[in-house]
Symmetry: C2
Subunit: 670 residues, 2 copies
């Protein structure tokens, strides 16, 4: 078994069994059981031996971490278990103010607990709901507004379901918001959501019947479009990728390992191109979504979807023909249930190719001969459902050494009730009685590079005019790219006015054509950082989201930008701490953290379900190769592509004659 193989069900069972045996008689409620990756010092020699075909050293053992609650004393515990040797390495009770994530089992238990509570039922009765209209609830992390709260709390947003279970309950938000102590399962209080133009709340009154705004096809009343004709992708010879050893993907000179972790979702590791190292590890490791409605209780509305919940934990089981087009391979995953039993998560990652248009083209105008090559890409994709929202994560490899990280947000806006005739400046009315507050989505992409080796230097380049010089630059027509190396850990900002581009180079490997160190560049996604003031909990809990770039010196287990425990955190404990060590990171084991995202001020078109909003970051070779690495990709041709000429007649004309792309030579009329 490879050190980076996907988690196996029996490994999860082994961990919980060992811990249960060790803590005899104590009820344990598991939050996460997942692979603790080998330390880099042990893993790199193994990967390098694989890469170079050398004799493999003994593989590092399979170690797992487990996060669980002890039901006897309510403590939250972290354990490390060596599954290879069936040996518990450590068990550590965590401080009382650290809380574990919300797990899937827990969400359903919480919903039931809330909806069954007599005080909640009494409150709901005041609504005087007609028959068939019921209440459902989205449990939400409580968030933070205090330095002294140590209880594990949950707030509940409540909605109506009008008969059909597929009713879009987000279009029928209620003002009732119970707060529970999740550990003791007791009701703390019932909050009321303000629904006017200010912070005042009102008592619960009978519900004024309102129609839901639906999107589920069986509930739509308007006629569907009938003119969308089928678009089928066929790969008659199969796909161009191969899978080995469970989770090694080979495609167009790329080779990499992929798996899903509970927290991050897709993790790419050991990424090489044509046998050369490019990336050691890359993953979206956190995303925070703070809301901009100032009024209680919304001041606490801030999700950390990786740390509070988990992207891998909420990944959809993808369906053939629904989510992906063409010739698809799936990777599955497994997680632990609250009782420590393995739960299959099939088809959480899909792998397939796509055609992204032309990759390069040139026509020699003298001869009218064209060289045309198409842009075939490989997509590794996961879709995560976080209650109302969906996030589609895709890593897209191309044939010219490029690797894109693309995120698309879709799903449903988080909604709040608003009274008739009212509008507010911190949100948009998206349906009668429904307001969606402004919010941000700020992601962290952790890039652990290995550009032709494991010691790299991060730097940036800026383009600026040269000074005038009577001999060299008499017209002020010169401009240069000025490099600044990042020698010490810290943070940095982007600057479009200077075209500041961050890059990663290997000073030990010089490109023989350009005479510069081989490098990759980052096409970043310039984004507004957290809009809130420096002294707010929004910022204190997510310092990673105050700067677009952080640079740290690698240490094992520094994986999550805001820190390991975000649920009800009072302050983050991540990149701002690690980069503050002032480590020397020049020609060293540098790790790059790119913060980017969306300032999302909702529009009516985002409701009842949102067309994807897309954001993307691309790594591109920058002197890693001595010339275009995709020159050996065969040309585009009709014999291969079989495109069809559109006619308004019934029978399309199929032109399969030409095998290479000569172009028409225009002749003048006489």
């Amino acid at each position: 078994m490879h050190p980076l193989s996907p988690v196996r069900p029996d490994e999860i069972s082994a961990v919980s069994r060992l811990l249960q045996a060790s803590l005899k008689g104590v009820g344990l409620r598991f939050k996460i059981i997942d692979l603790q990756e080998p330390i880099k010092k042990d893993l790199v020699p193994f990967l390098e031996a694989e890469r170079t075909g050398a004799v493999l050293p003994r593989p590092p053992p399979r170690i797992f971490y487990a996060l669980f609650d002890r039901l006897d004393n309510g403590n939250f515990v972290k354990a490390l278990v060596n599954v290879t040797n069936s040996h518990i390495m450590s068990i550590r009770e965590l401080p009382k103010d650290l809380h574990g994530p919300v797990d899937g089992d827990e969400v359903l238990e919480l919903e039931a607990m809330c909806l069954k509570h007599p005080d909640v039922i009494a409150e709901i009765e005041k609504l005087q709901l007609p028959p068939g209209v019921t209440v459902c609830t989205d449990p939400w992390v409580y968030g933070t507004d205090s330095e002294s709260e140590t209880r594990r709390l949950t707030q509940f947003y409540m909605y109506l379901v009008d008969n059909n279970p597929e009713c879009n309950h987000y279009s029928l938000p209620l003002k009732i918001s119970p707060v529970f102590d999740t550990t003791t399962k007791t009701l703390i209080r019932i909050d009321y959501l303000p629904s006017g133009a200010d912070e005042k709340t009102t008592e619960t009154t009978p519900w004024k019947p309102t129609k839901a705004v639906e999107f589920a096809p069986e509930l739509l009343t308007e006629p569907m479009r009938e003119d969308v004709k089928p678009y089928i992708v066929q790969q008659p010879d199969g796909a161009s990728f191969t899978i080995e050893d469970e989770n090694v993907v080979r495609w167009q000179k790329w080779r990499f390992r992929v798996r899903s972790t509970y927290r991050e979702g897709i993790v790419l590791q050991n990424v090489t191109y044509d046998g050369r190292n490019v990336i050691y590890r890359m993953a979206i490791n956190e995303m925070t979504v703070p809301y901009g409605d100032p009024r209680a209780p919304y001041h606490r509305k801030q999700a950390f979807d990786a740390g509070d919940v988990g992207f891998g934990a909420t990944a959809n089981a993808l369906s053939l023909g629904c989510d992906c087009l063409g010739h698809i391979h799936y990777f599955s995953s497994v997680r632990a249930s609250s009782s420590g039993m393995p739960v299959d998560m099939p088809n959480v990652i899909c792998l397939h190719e796509q055609d992204a248009g032309l990759q390069f083209k040139h026509t020699n105008y003298r001869t009218n001969t064209a060289t045309v090559v198409r842009n075939r890409q490989l997509v590794v994709q996961m879709i995560c459902t976080l209650a109302n929202y969906e996030y589609i994560f895709a890593y897209i490899f191309d044939q010219a050494g490029g690797l894109e990280t693309e995120i698309r947000a879709t799903g449903i806006l988080s909604t709040m009730p608003i009274d008739e005739g009212i509008t507010v400046p911190w949100g948009t009315n998206v349906a009668p009685g429904v307001m969606a507050a402004n919010h941000q989505h700020l992601f962290s992409l952790r890039i652990d590079p290995a550009i032709d080796g494991y010691n790299n230097t991060a730097f940036f380049e800026e383009s600026m005019a040269m000074e005038r010089d009577p001999k060299l630059n008499p017209y002020g027509a010169g401009y240069v790219a000025k490099q600044t190396s990042i020698v010490q850990s810290g943070s940095a900002v982007l600057d479009t006015s200077k075209n500041r581009v961050f890059k990663i180079r290997n000073d030990s490997v010089i490109n023989q054509v350009s005479q510069k160190p081989v490098a990759y560049k980052i096409h970043a996604a310039p984004s507004q950082m957290l809009v809130f003031g420096d002294d707010t909990y929004q910022v204190r809990r997510a310092r990673y989201a105050t700067k677009p770039f952080w640079f740290t010196k690698y240490r094992d287990d520094e994986l999550y930008a805001a820190g390991e425990f975000t649920n009800m955190s009072r302050a983050s404990s991540g990149v701002e701490v690690w980069s503050g060590r002032g480590d020397n990171i020049e020609n060293n084991d540098v790790v790059i953290w790119h913060t980017f995202g969306l300032t999302h001020n909702p529009r009516p078109e985002d409701f009842p379900v949102m067309p994807v909003e897309r954001i993307s970051v691309t790594l591109k070779p920058d002197g890693f190769f001595t010339k275009n690495p995709a020159l050996d990709v065969p040309q585009s041709s009709q014999r291969f592509n079989k495109s069809i000429l559109h006619q308004d007649k019934a029978e399309p004309i199929v032109d399969t004659s030409s095998s290479c792309c000569s172009t028409y030579v225009p002749k003048a009329h006489m």
Copy 2:
């Protein structure tokens, strides 16, 4: 014939015939004969009558403009001709310092002229070229470095062709650069390109044989990849678009006119969604490419590819199965030859659909039922070859009211000779003896909006934290989007730190759900503006490229951001002039000009032919609709999409069972 129909060959003949008859005995050399669009005051009533189904007024006549040189006195002339009435409206000789564009016939004539000149031949002989190695040349616009030059000059960059005509001559650049007076066809001088680390030039010496760096498939020596398997797009029921009246496209509630103009290439007009006005006219109207090598003669190296040459003029004849995938429709065009004869330009615009992944998805986690809709798009595309470079222009329509303008740069870097062992800070060595200088590509997108009508207001929104307030905002957790209307013509910058977003609204039409005026927003492409100093010719000739946004009040014939005549211009005369009028543009006929592009500091991977570098600007509805306008798009389903499960066996398993997208409910192991 519709006022916006494509140009017909007989119209071009009519124009040149009328002008030739009017200027009897004078030799005329035509540069451009193209449609002069009707003035807006006349066109709008016609388009509105079409849109609303009213009685059509009399259509405006077909008027053409012609730019030509008089061979008797060398004057450059602009004429307006009413082809409908066979009547010349005006003939105007232009000032001596205005020059017409370079035309296609001219380029081939210039090449021949240069290569036949005895002084040039003598210079070439000094190279002592081996048999089979010949010289070719790219004529280039001369550019500007003087206030007093009025001659029409051409500079020539020279390269070697090693036997095969498909040899990549850009990898064999020479130091010889003749300069000719294009009008008198006389050699002015021979410049020498500096090839060391500074501005010094050297005399021509015998060529040291160097291998070309090839990309044409027949000249590649390395083996081609054999593992790229076919990827075929099939549309068994045809495409979802329809074409009417020659150049009206209908697709998924969009209706628009498309045609190619000589200068801009693709122009979109009268764009409506579901019968509602969105855009009056939109086009990329200019692009400047200034180079950053400070040394003579490169200080003059700045192309204006629309104004100096023409995107429509250089559009490729697209080949079925080479450039576009799937079910393709082509639009053709026609231009004038230098003798005023119509020249067919077939297949310059292709139209086809593409699948861009998921459009929206939501899974109800309680029931595991998913709604999944795919993102079908319509692509309108043109590929233009400007000597060494290619630009791929695409307008991409989606089903949710979005319209993207995408530009991809490919083709070949412009190269200069460099001596062995030398590197320079203003460029990159991309092959032995070959340097590619830093340069920028700055595009102007002219958007003439008609958001639900012809009086619109441009404005921008910025997201900023609300001030603390003990009642309303006690935790500093609120943020708002603050609007600033653009009331007077002028320019503006982007500001990512505030998430500044430019939008266009119609104050007369209020969205009933959001209670705000209907609007569209611009997802701009934040880019570095011209890097050069304010007093350089680079900037003086292209003021549009100093700001990302310009706002002008509509006037007929204000179409080109740098002005109508760019060839050897000394200063631009475009948006900076028109916006300087200080017109009131609030709730008015406002025109928006977005400048964006690439600061391109070459990398070896860009050579010998460049993988596409992509940049894009998207218009999205922002309260134009009361909800997601694509809810009526049918769900994704396997029965429709026919995806295939990848197996490493010979026979793929085809799963066509599921018709809607229910997802797997995970069960824990017991």
